[in-house]
Symmetry: C2
Subunit: 340 residues, 2 copies
DNA sequence: ATACCACATGGTATCGTTACCATACAGGAA
DNA sequence: TTCCTGTATGGTAACGATACCATGTGGTAT
């Protein structure tokens, strides 16, 4: 495989001159430029980024560590990240932890070894280990989607508490009193925030005693399982609030299995919308997060830090969620509302 | 950021000795080993893979270039690749081309610059450009999912022709005569093979004159659009065969919009199953490809080449598809059949 | 004439690691 | 004793690129 030395020799110049032409920085005469470019062409020269990065101490690579790439919400986040990074000339490496902190730490080490310029992290659980490792090595890190406690890092997330509050409130105003929350795991901020919003709306309406929260995982299997438990509760809930899209799908499957009608017998609403390419017909009332924008904003913030356009204090960007009313919630009280 | 020199100095040994301990190859006394490992710990040393790869000429990294990461079929392929690669100690970089040959070529160049050890490619269209580039640089490449003409490369794919033939034949035996194929684009081998299988089954039953093939894209939007056109055809088809999962979803949406009942008024079958986490209830009769296994087998084959366990002649692995009968096809002739 | 700047090119060292070769000692085989 | 082999360690160069500094031209302002 030819090196820049080979190119330089063939063009009759010094390697450093060839480098200048290839990277288009510094001066080069028309004549030299052409000779170098022809040599590149003829030899099929492909620059070696390993060597380049070793010397320049920049890889122009970011990493996105997330918990579940098969979830369309995160796929969309990833697209936002990829687009923003690519616009700024960065490559992105994707890593999937399956909500497992060991995997998270393993990937983080790998990425530090690869000397990525910066890291975007959707933390599994607390994320402490990973965050500490990155900060210790001086690698900038932006957390996406979830809050982390007492860590000096930038965060881009959605207002889970506000979104859950707003949708629960609408359900209550529409006449539902016994609403069960099928939640993600304790210790994950999005799950806790959604529970908090849900509870706030209940409390505000004086319905605390009807609070019914199940903790599980952000998966379809867990959604089905929590649904079974919820429907065994006495008195049974009139509405189910699934804390993410996979839980909602699991609930939907279980409900259909039991021949219960939505929304006549039971209302079902959820967090996170599903892309039109995947859903046969839009039916679920949901709190939709701006997934693409979250990815984009996070990547931009990270790049701003890397390129010195942003320094000092950590920022926290909290984007509003949007409520999309469809059939699964039954007729809904249509008062205008916005999440703060 | 500390280097191996720092570690060596602190442990009182030569850098090369530290290297041997860290990589666990070559000899090292218990005493030295402990001193080095303690120094690593104390300094928070993280090896620099850029330097390592530059010197050793191996990155232990593979790349997977595919056409649509948002498609669960490819997500599953990617998981198979990731798992097999990870077992063998390789990292995978994922790239998404959106069926665009320019993107494909752009990513390929990037990956060559990063000196990945090998490439797994789902070619957009012909894939000629990308395949040529990789071969010219001597980087091993395995093609997944699609045939490529006249290229000396390994291929792992599914028997699209056989799968389409088998399902079409079942539809015919169940009494459907006018079956329309909603296909992907011309020039993509999977689309062409599925059309071939479909036509073979029609021909075998003497139904050539009812052949009705629409060419579009492997997307939901295109599926909806082709459905509209198909239903306007006179006489209208009795069954639709969607050539992939997204086309099937688009068809389903359009059909529901038109208040046509499945399977009473119209049967609908497709290629590629959807994972249970994404589908509210399994309803579509499909030809399912072994996506995970395809990814796994392809990655293993590539790694076998890289590590010299496989050489010479190119291999082509063709995995069988599986037919899964559900409601959308109506009552089906249940004769036992296997695709070759 | 002098000073200065834009343009154009090159030399040398260096990024952090490992390949390759060399050295040295202990202990068993011949 | 000599020779060899396994164990243990180190020196030097090289992977391929660029940072940094140096040098030399020609033109223009003073």
């Amino acid at each position: 495989m030819p090196t820049i030395q080979d190119v330089a020799r063939r063009a009759g110049v010094a390697p450093i001159t060839a480098s200048r032409v290839i990277n288009n920085n510094g001066y080069a005469s028309q004549d030299v430029r052409q000779r170098v470019l022809r040599a590149v062409e003829e030899l099929g020269y492909v620059p070696n980024t390993l060597a380049r990065s070793l010397r320049s101490r920049r890889t122009n690579t970011l990493a996105l560590i997330l918990t579940d790439i098969t979830n369309p919400f995160f796929t969309t986040v990833a697209r936002g990240v990829e687009d923003a990074a690519s616009d700024a000339g960065y490559t992105v490496i994707f890593c999937n932890t399956d909500e497992n902190e060991d995997e998270e730490q393993k990937y983080l080490n790998l990425l530090l070894q690869k000397r990525v310029d910066g890291i975007l992290l959707v933390p599994a659980r607390s994320g402490h280990g990973a965050i500490q490792s990155a900060l210790a090595q001086g690698v900038p890190l932006v957390v996406i989607d979830r809050r982390v406690a007492n860590e000096p890092v930038d965060v881009v997330r959605c207002d889970s508490e506000g979104g859950a509050y707003a949708l629960t409130r609408r359900l209550i105003r529409s006449g539902y009193q016994r609403i069960a929350l099928l939640n993600g795991p304790k210790g994950v901020s999005t799950a806790e925030d959604r529970a908090a919003g849900y509870l706030r709306a209940l409390a505000e309406a004086g319905l605390q005693e009807h609070a019914l929260v199940f903790y599980g995982h952000f998966t379809q299997a867990s959604g089905a399982e929590m649904t079974t438990r919820a429907l065994l509760h006495q008195p049974p809930p009139q509405a189910l609030f699934a804390a993410n899209n996979f839980i909602a799908i699991g609930a939907l499957q279980k409900i259909r299995e039991l021949d219960v009608r939505i929304p006549e017998d039971l209302a079902l609403v959820g967090f996170d919308d599903l892309p039109p390419a995947l859903v046969t017909f839009p039916f679920l009332t949901v709190v939709a997060q701006p997934a693409y924008e979250m990815g984009q904003r996070a990547a931009r913030m990270l790049i701003d830090r890397l390129e010195g356009r942003l320094s000092g204090e950590c920022r926290e960007i909290i984007l509003p969620a949007e409520i999309i009313i469809r059939q699964s919630s039954g007729p809904i009280h249509l008062e205008e509302e916005t999440t703060p």
